[in-house]
């Protein structure tokens, strides 16, 4: 593992950037800089002077980096995208994970292959985490809605909590809806009838 490489992470999502930075540090990379603010991006990158730049694909500033392929007075040190004509699988995996890597000219591709692999796995891990978090959030919201609907039914129809839940579940099954949807209808109807 090549620990002397200077790596810049351009990602507006601070959590994902932190996860990636941790991974790189665990792998022994000590020169890792995060760039969250993309205004004056080229100047920020020149200040870090990295050998490897990792950027998330949701970032419109990716096009700014492409300018660094060009020789001009604006560009101090030309870079290239990390692409390997023979290895389309790694490009596909990176795009799929939502990340792209750029390297300074002359750097051998073997030196960053493991960085890119690490990047892809961390981005995928983050996407899974995000997904789980979203699902947990939805479940929590659903639970709150169902509890409120149960309360309404218990009071209006003089039911126990269990009976109220059974009623919601039965209605949901009959109408081929989710219990939370039926519960939301109960709440909406009650508010309309207030």
């Amino acid at each position: 593992m090549d620990q002397s490489l200077k790596i810049a992470i351009v990602d507006k999502n601070p959590i994902r950037a932190a996860i990636l930075e941790d991974g790189l540090r665990e792998a022994g990379h000590v020169h890792v800089t995060r760039i969250g603010d993309t205004s004056h991006l080229l100047a920020r990158i020149y200040a870090v002077d990295p050998e490897v730049i990792l950027i998330d694909l949701e970032n419109p500033s990716r096009d700014v980096l492409e300018q660094m392929f060009q020789m001009s007075r604006v560009v101090k040190r030309p870079i290239a995208m990390f692409v390997d004509q023979s290895d389309t699988a790694s490009i596909e995996a990176a795009v799929d994970a939502g990340v792209s890597a750029y390297i300074v000219g002359g750097l051998h591709k073997d030196r960053i292959k493991n960085i890119l692999d690490l990047c892809i796995s961390r981005f995928n891990a983050f996407a899974r985490l995000q997904d789980e978090l979203d699902r947990a959030r939805t479940a929590l919201e659903d639970r709150k809605v169902i509890d409120r609907a149960k309360g309404i039914l218990m009071k209006a129809k003089n039911l126990t909590e269990d009976e109220a839940y059974v009623l919601l579940r039965k209605t949901a099954m009959n109408e081929k809806k989710k219990i939370a949807e039926v519960a939301q209808s109960v709440i909406t109807a009650t508010e309309l009838l207030k």
């Binding site: 990716r62 096009d63 700014v64 392929f69 060009q70 004509q85 490009i91 795009v95 792209s100």
Partner: protein, 388 residues
């Protein structure tokens, strides 16, 4: 082949994405048995990469990116075809109020004449240099973009070296207006509707429509992978017919309400702005001055949809002029072969447009000799300022 065929098309929210948007949202695709899923993207690099690796079947793409990808310059080499031209022109050069004043003071004549404005820019540039002031910064959207080449073509004709005398920086279109407002850039070249957004906010003034620099400039193309086109000839044919029908709809003045409604949703700017863009009635200054042009953005008119190989050759010539690509007969042939009027003609049977008044070389540049697509060296030798 039975059932509806699903296709994914990537696009950047700009006015010249109108044709695939209308094809998808107004039933022209379904009339051909196609279901188009439009995927909004944030960068040209993403559109290019997702098309290249097959996440998109087709894309709204900068014409020079299709050529660069086929030539393998700046990036992995993937043969791309452009069987439909999504628009001619549509870009504009917008300058800050401060730069406009400086140009007006330096101008020998009418600033709406691009040669007058380019020479005025040369005077402003040399005055700044002699005073030791920072060079002017111009924003554009991508290294392989019409915006980059059109800005360079214009300023170099007036004696400004785009690599030595000013800074040209890439900025994503949605950041252009802010960058002009906070003086990160002094001017920019971008597609509709962003120039008008800057004028409406009072932070910029439109100096030129791109149609004043080039009468016909291929802007975005419908891009597909060469391999995909080979493997799906029937699908491509239907896709092109849907696009031709959508382009005719875009051009129809009676459809403007429907057009603005659909586009305002997909591009997320006001209907009024979209309407002005398609009417070619553009507010150019915060004081309300309006300039009109029926060439501001050409879609579905004057053969705009049919790919023209002279356009591909002109774009390749700019890549050579600015040292992005070497000059070679083979590369020129490859660049021209990206544009596929033959595929267009085999899919679309339509009456020829009336091309009276269109430039005979198919380009109509405001400066220099007529363009000969078979003689790039002659085009280059006409210019003093060049890298290649």
């Amino acid at each position: 082949m039975t059932g509806v065929q699903k296709l994914r098309i990537g696009y950047i929210p700009l006015a010249d994405a109108a044709v695939p948007i209308i094809a998808a949202d107004r039933g022209f695709a379904s009339a051909e048995g196609l279901e188009i899923e439009l995927v909004r993207e944030v960068s040209w690099s993403n559109v290019r990469d997702k098309l290249n690796i097959g996440l998109f079947d087709a894309a709204h793409l900068l014409a020079p990116v299709a050529i660069a990808s086929s030539l393998g310059i700046g990036h992995v080499k993937v043969p791309i075809l452009a069987p439909f031209n999504l628009g001619l022109n549509g870009n504009a050069i917008t300058v800050s109020p401060f730069l406009y004043e400086a140009l007006a003071d330096a101008a020998a004549g009418d600033l709406t004449d691009p040669m007058v404005s380019a020479r005025a820019l040369a005077r402003v540039v040399s005055a700044r240099r002699s005073k030791g002031v920072e060079p002017l910064t111009f924003g554009m959207t991508f290294p392989f973009s019409t915006h980059n080449y059109q800005l360079r073509f214009w300023m170099a004709a007036g004696g400004v070296d785009p690599d030595e005398d000013v800074r040209l920086v890439v900025l994503p279109p949605p950041y252009m207006v802010d960058s002009l407002a906070n003086r990160q850039v002094d001017a920019f070249c971008v597609g509709a509707p962003w120039n008008s957004v800057a004028v409406d906010l009072g932070v910029g003034r439109i100096l030129h429509f791109m149609s004043e620099i080039l009468a016909r400039g291929a802007e975005k193309v419908l891009a597909v992978r060469g391999r995909w086109a080979d493997e799906n000839p029937d699908l491509l044919c239907r896709l092109l017919r849907a696009h031709a029908a959508a382009a005719a709809f875009v051009a129809g003045a009676r459809n403007r309400d429907a057009l603005t409604e659909v586009l305002a949703k997909r591009i997320v700017v006001s209907r009024d702005l979209i309407r002005r863009t398609f009417e070619g009635s553009i507010k150019v200054a915060p004081d309300g001055t309006v300039r009109t042009s029926d060439r501001y953005l050409l879609i579905g008119r004057k053969d705009a949809g049919r790919p023209d190989r002279a356009q591909a050759a002109w774009l390749y010539a700019q890549m050579v002029r600015w040292a992005q690509a070497p000059l070679s007969a083979q590369m020129l042939a490859t660049a021209k072969a990206v544009f596929r009027p033959d595929l267009y003609d085999s899919a679309i049977a339509e009456a020829k447009s009336d091309l009276a008044g269109e430039p005979s070389d198919g380009i109509g540049a405001f400066a220099g000799p007529a363009f000969d697509p078979d003689d790039i060296a002659a085009h280059l030798s006409a210019w003093r300022i060049r890298r290649g």
